[in-house]
C-alpha cells in the first residue's frame, strides 16, 4: 500500500514541481539521511524491567508537577498509559504470547523528518542538528494539527490552560545535551536499557547485539526506517506490534505524504486564472457577437419594415387622391345637376 502511494507521489513529484523548504522532498531523487552526528537513544526491550526510574528522572529534570501516584508505585503498570501534558515519558507493560511481560518506554521518537514539524503552520517545531525535535511555544497558535499528524501519538496539549496552553512533549533533554550531559531518563536507567549516542553509532550497536544474540532479538531495528527514520531506536525480542509499536506506518516520511498535494498549489494558481480568464473571454466574445448580430437583424428588419410601410403609405395616398378626385367630380356633377333642376323648376 505504502509503496503504491510513494509511486503515486513520485509521479506527481516527477511532474517537475518541487516544494523547497524544511520538509517536502519527495520530488526527484533527493532524500534526507538526517543531520550527520546527530544524537539519539537506543531502547532495548529485553533489558527494561519497568522500574519507572526513567519516568521519575524525566519528571524531575523537566520540573513537571508531581503525579497522582508515586513513581515507586508499580501497580500503574497494570493499565495502559500514554504521555500527557504533565508526563513526557511512560513505561507500559505488555503481556506477550511468548511468555512474561515485556516493558517498553514511550516518549517522542524525534523523527528525522518529523510529521509535527511538517504539519505545523507556524514552524513551531524543528529538527535540530543535535537530534532533538524542538518546540517553540512563543509562536504556537494551538491548532493541534501536530497531534493529528504524529503517527506515534506523542504531542499532548494543556487543555486546562485557558489563556496560554502549550503543546508538551519530550525534548530529548536538549539543554542537557548541549551542556554535554545525558538525557535524564538515560542517566537514570539502572539496567542500561537506554543507550545514548550518535544515531549512526546506535545502529551499529543494535546490529552487533542482534548478531551476537540472534535468539534473543528479532532482526529489526524499529525506527531505522519507520516514517523515514527516527532518532529514538528500538530493539526487541518480541514483535514490535506486541509492545505497542505499530508496524504498519510505512517507510515514507511525513513530508513525502503531503508533497503531492502541496505540488498542486502552483498548478492551480498558474493554470486556473488562464483557463477561467479564457472561458470568460470566449463567453464575452460570444455575447458581443450575439449582440452585434441581434442589432444587425433589428436594423435590417426595421429598414425592411419602413420601406414596406412607405410604399404602402404612398399607395394608400395615391388611392385616396384618386378617390378624392372622383368624389369631388361626383359632388360637382350632383351640384350641377341640382342647379340644372332648379333652373327648369324656376322656368316652369
Amino acid at each position: 500500500m505504502s509503496i503504491k502511494r510513494r509511486t503515486f507521489l513520485g509521479l506527481i513529484g516527477a511532474a517537475g514541481v518541487t516544494v523547497a523548504s524544511t520538509g517536502a522532498r519527495a520530488a526527484g531523487n533527493a532524500h534526507f539521511d538526517g543531520y550527520p552526528g546527530s544524537k539519539g537513544v537506543l531502547f532495548d526491550a529485553t533489558r527494561c524491567i519497568g522500574c519507572r526510574k526513567c519516568e521519575a528522572a524525566c519528571n524531575a529534570v523537566n520540573e513537571l508537577p508531581a503525579p497522582a501516584e508515586k513513581f515507586d508505585d508499580l501497580t500503574v503498570l497494570d493499565r495502559s498509559r500514554r504521555t500527557d501534558a504533565k508526563t513526557f515519558t511512560v513505561v507500559n507493560k505488555y503481556e506477550t504470547p511468548s511468555g512474561g511481560p515485556v516493558y517498553r518506554k514511550m516518549q517522542c521518537n524525534h523523527c528525522l523528518e518529523p510529521a509535527c514539524a511538517s504539519a505545523c503552520f507556524v514552524k513551531a517545531f524543528a529538527k535540530t542538528p543535535e537530534g532533538a525535535v524542538s518546540y517553540d511555544a512563543s509562536v504556537c497558535v494551538g491548532c493541534r494539527y501536530c497531534m493529528i499528524a504524529c503517527p506515534f501519538n506523542i504531542p499532548t496539549y494543556e487543555y486546562d490552560e485557558p489563556l496560554s496552553p502549550r503543546v508538551r512533549k519530550c525534548t530529548m533533554c536538549r539543554p542537557r545535551i548541549l551542556e554535554g550531559r545525558l538525557p535524564g531518563c538515560v542517566e537514570a536507567c539502572p539496567k542500561e536499557a537506554l543507550t545514548f549516542g550518535t544515531r549512526d553509532e546506535l545502529i551499529k550497536i543494535a546490529r552487533k547485539r542482534i548478531e551476537k544474540y540472534p535468539d534473543r532479538y528479532l532482526d529489526h531495528i524499529y525506527g531505522e526506517r519507520e516514517m523515514g527514520g527516527t532518532s529514538w531506536l528500538y530493539i526487541s525480542g518480541v514483535p514490535f506490534s506486541q509492545i505497542g509499536l505499530r508496524e504498519d506506518l510505512g517507510y515514507a516520511s511525513a513530508p513525502e505524504l503531503t508533497s503531492g498535494a502541496l505540488a498542486a498549489v502552483p498548478v492551480v494558481a498558474g493554470l486556473w486564472p488562464a483557463l477561467l480568464g479564457g472561458l470568460w473571454a470566449i463567453n464575452k466574445r460570444k455575447e458581443k457577437i450575439a449582440r452585434q448580430e441581434k442589432r444587425e437583424a433589428v436594423e435590417n428588419a426595421v429598414a425592411r419594415a419602413s420601406a414596406e410601410a412607405e410604399s404602402k403609405l404612398s399607395a394608400a395616398l395615391s388611392k385616396a387622391e384618386v378617390e378624392n378626385r372622383r368624389r369631388i367630380e361626383v359632388e360637382v356633377k350632383r351640384a350641377l345637376e341640382e342647379a340644372g333642376l332648379n333652373d327648369t323648376k324656376e322656368e316652369g
Binding site: 503552520f121 513551531a124 494551538g142 491548532c143 487543555y159 486546562d160 496552553p165 498535494a261 492551480v268 486564472p273
Partner: protein
C-alpha cells in the same frame, strides 16, 4: 417561521416570536459557554483529549462550514465566467451566505485553537509553508477578504456609497477568478490535511485523492446549499424578492440540479477509482464498509439520480428535497473522514464523542449566522435589485 418573517418586516409587532425566543436562548447559552471556554480552558467545555485533538468544532464548524459555503464560488463562476447570466439574481444571496459562512468558520476557530489572538501568526509572523493547514489558513484568510469585497456593493447601495460601489463593481471579474483559485486550493487542502496521517484514517476514507474528493464534493455541496437556502428564503423573504429574482428562480433550481447531478456522478466514479487504485474492495465487507456504502450509495448515488429526475421533469419539490439530502450527505462525509474513520484503530474507550457544550457552541455559531443573514437581507438589496442601481452592473 412565517411569523418570524412578519416580525422582521413589521418591527412594531412583538419580538417574542418562537424563532426569536429559541434563538435568544441559544445565544445566551452560547455566551455562558464562551465565558467558560476562556476562563477554564478548552478542557472544561469539550471532550477533546490527547488522542483526539480535533472534535466537532473542526468537523462541523470548519470542514462542513467551508464545504457548505462553496455556493459563493460556484454561483459566481457560473454567472460571471461560464456566461450563465440567467443565474445573476442567485449570485448575491450566494455571496452573502458564503461570506457569512466563512466569517463564522473563522469565528468558530477562535473557540477551538488554544490562543486565538495568534490566528494571524501563520500569515504574518512565521509561515509554515510545508503545512497543508498553512494553505488552508492563507486561502481562507484571502478568500474571506474576497467575499467581503464581493458582498460590499450591497452594503454600499444600502448606505449610498456610490463612488466606492463603482470601483468595487469593476473588480467583479478579477475577484471571481481569484475566488475560484482560492476555493480550489483550500477546499481541496481541507481533505489533504488528513494525508499526513495514513495510519490513523480508515483505509476506505484515506486516499491519495482525498484533496480531489473534498474539492469536487464542495461543488455540489455549495450548489445544494444555495438550493436549500433558496427554499428557506422563498418561505421567509418572498415579499422582498423582485420580479427578476422570482422569474429566474425556477431556472436556477433546475439548472443547479442538473449541474449537481453531473458532478455527483463524476465524484462517484472518482471514489470508485479510489477503491480500485489501492485494491480496497475487501474492506466493503466490514462494518466500516457498510457505513462507506451508505455514504456513497445513499448520499451520493441516490441524490445524483433524484437530481437528474427532478431536472428532467422540472419537479422543483423533488429537487429541493434532494438538496437537503445532499447537504446532510456532505455533513455525513466530513464527519466520517474526520471523526468516524479517524482513530478507528483506537479502543472504543479512547474514542471521541462531543460534549453537549461543544454541540451548543456549534448551534450558537449557526444561530449567529442565521441572525446576521436575516439582518442583512431585510436591509440590503440581496433578493432584489436596488431601483437606483438597475442595469448598472
Amino acid at each position: 417561521m412565517s411569523q418570524e418573517s412578519t416580525a422582521s418586516t413589521a418591527p412594531r409587532k412583538s419580538l417574542f416570536t418562537p424563532f426569536n425566543v429559541v434563538a435568544g436562548v441559544i445565544v445566551l447559552v452560547g455566551l455562558v459557554i464562551t465565558f467558560l471556554r476562556f476562563t477554564k480552558g478548552i478542557g472544561a467545555v469539550t471532550n477533546l483529549d490527547d488522542n483526539n485533538p480535533w472534535g466537532i468544532w473542526i468537523s462541523f464548524d470548519l470542514l462542513c462550514g467551508v464545504a457548505l459555503a462553496a455556493g459563493g464560488y460556484t454561483t459566481s463562476a457560473a454567472c460571471y465566467l461560464f456566461g450563465l447570466k440567467r443565474y445573476h439574481s442567485a449570485v448575491r444571496p450566494a455571496i452573502l451566505t458564503a461570506f457569512l459562512g466563512y466569517a463564522l468558520v473563522v469565528f468558530a476557530l477562535h473557540y477551538d485553537v488554544g490562543r486565538p489572538w495568534r490566528l494571524t501568526y501563520p500569515i504574518f509572523l512565521s509561515q509554515g509553508t510545508t503545512s497543508l493547514l498553512f494553505e488552508v489558513g492563507l486561502c481562507v484568510f484571502l478568500y474571506l477578504t474576497v467575499l467581503f469585497i464581493e458582498w460590499l456593493p450591497a452594503a454600499c447601495e444600502w448606505l449610498r456609497l456610490d463612488k466606492l460601489r463603482k470601483v468595487l463593481v469593476k473588480l467583479t471579474l478579477v475577484l471571481t477568478i481569484f475566488g475560484v483559485v482560492l476555493s480550489t486550493l483550500h477546499q481541496s487542502s481541507l481533505g489533504a490535511l488528513y494525508l499526513i496521517a495514513p495510519s490513523k484514517v480508515h483505509p476506505l476514507w484515506y486516499s491519495p485523492y482525498l484533496a480531489l474528493f473534498f474539492f469536487v464534493s464542495s461543488m455540489f455541496a455549495g450548489m445544494s446549499m444555495v438550493l436549500f437556502e433558496g427554499t428557506l428564503a422563498h418561505r421567509n423573504f418572498h415579499e422582498l424578492m423582485d420580479e427578476t429574482h422570482l422569474e429566474e428562480a425556477p431556472g436556477v433550481v433546475t439548472g443547479f440540479a442538473k449541474a449537481c447531478s453531473v458532478v455527483m456522478c463524476g465524484y462517484l466514479i472518482m471514489k470508485m477509482f479510489g477503491l480500485a487504485l489501492e485494491n480496497k474492495w475487501h474492506y466493503l465487507a466490514t462494518g466500516y464498509g457498510v457505513l462507506f456504502l451508505v455514504e456513497l450509495i445513499g448520499f451520493v448515488a441516490l441524490p445524483a439520480y433524484l437530481y437528474a429526475i427532478g431536472a428532467r421533469e422540472r419537479n422543483r419539490t423533488l429537487i429541493r428535497f434532494t438538496a437537503v439530502w445532499t447537504v446532510l450527505g456532505i455533513v455525513f462525509n466530513r464527519f466520517n473522514v474526520s471523526l468516524v474513520a479517524f482513530n478507528w484503530q483506537l479502543p472504543s474507550a479512547d474514542r471521541y464523542f462531543p460534549s453537549w457544550m461543544e454541540i451548543a457552541i456549534s448551534l450558537f455559531v449557526v444561530t449567529v449566522g442565521v441572525l446576521a443573514y436575516r439582518f442583512i437581507c431585510t436591509r440590503m438589496p440581496i433578493f432584489y435589485e436596488h431601483p437606483d442601481y438597475k442595469e448598472s452592473h
